[in-house]
Amino acid sequence: MTAKKESLLRLVVVLTAIALVAGLALTGVYALTKDPIETAQAAKKQEALNKVLPGFKGEIRDITVQDNDGEDILVHLAVNPDGSLFGAGVETYTKKAFAGRFDLMVGFDMTGTILNTEVIKAGETPGLGDKINKDKSDFALQFSNRNPQDFKLIVKKDGGDVDAITAATISSRAYCDAVQRAYDVFMKVKEDYHE
């Protein structure tokens, strides 16, 4: 009886001790890496923002807006020193991608013209859908400096103005869907900001 109790106690003590030491060690590493991780993530976001809002050097204010499907979209408002809006970087997404979903950042100026688009996270098929990335093909470049008012964000096959990627119509359509979503959200934000 006592032997069993002792051994049970030992099991608990040893496992607790190991977990405690492990927890302490992890806390240490977490404290050490917390700043570098945050810096790395901020740098990544900043880099994407710089790409979609070329030339902007002012303050960035983050707000969340709901899109038409009720999903939260992060909008980085680019505010000029005098308080007026320069434009915004919109973190948009699509669920019509070949791999389900991908995330883009789209930059707009106040006229609603697309300044630039940038893939944040995508898992499209290598060699086909991954041509949405700028280092793989020029597909994404056609959106830059176009205003969706006179540039229909639909692939040419469906009657729009966008040249689709050969053999990757689904990814091309998804890209258009994401940019259109960003545009809708931005127009909403722009109105609200004036009010």
Partner: protein, 319 residues
Amino acid sequence: MNKLLNVSGSPHVHSDDTVQKIMWSVVVALIPAFVVSVFYFGLPVIILTAVSVGCCVLFEYLIQRFMLKQTPTVSDGSAVVTGMLLAFNVPANLPIWMMVVGAIVAIGIAKMPFGGLGHNPFNPALVARVFLLIAFPVAMTTWPVPTPIWSFGADVVTGPTPLGILKEGANVEMPTYMNMLIGQMGGSFGEVSAIALLIGAIFLLWKRIITWHIPVAFILTVFVVAGIFWLVDPTQYANPFFHLLTGGLILGACFMATDMVTSPTSPVGMLIFGCGCGLLTIIIRLFGAYPEGVSFSILLMNALVPLINRWFVPKTFAK
């Protein structure tokens, strides 16, 4: 050497069919479709078929002679059939080096590693076709528009296949049913002409090289299931005749699914195999990411053949 037909269960009926005889009959049966392809797509068809057949035979010879150190058995003609079927499953404007890669895959991955003719669980030509489709998705889905041979010298124009139009909803006119029947539509060059393929299939049935079970079960399943969807909502789903005449259905059902090595041995097994192929094909066509599903469905059902053979053992004479 290995001239005996591979039989998996009793009864071991003796017949004077040799592997050679069977294989050459299949080659003969493929000739009508080949002629139609040459008519519509011209010289590239001849070149691609020659390259594919030549490479399949060559690789089989080299592997048997130098890697396995066996006596080569390429004269049985099975590599010729694989080469022809593989070539029939690619667009006519495929670069030649890709055709060579396909031949390497068919022989070097799908056939010889499993032990050569009679031991491969999957149809080598189809494995190679699916490999090429995933490896070169752009080249394998850019189809030249068929132009009769007398319009020689015209630029090669590419266009979608009827099934591709269906899936992607492009603003292109569908070919008429007559054109689908004779083969004037986009597609892999061997699959376009339903009539020529059916002539070949009838020849094989007459020669008793294939039985009716698999092709009929396969095609009928596609027809019935497509028909049900069409009756439910004709605006969203295509008419069942369209599904019969487009894509690789006839080629797959008559020449690929009936491959003796990779299909069940008993009639009931064959019917189940055919129905499974048909069902998977129509599911992929209607709901899958790819416009066409014949090759995938046959390969998937190939994987089930050992199981089907186990459930439906051919009856022995004694019973």
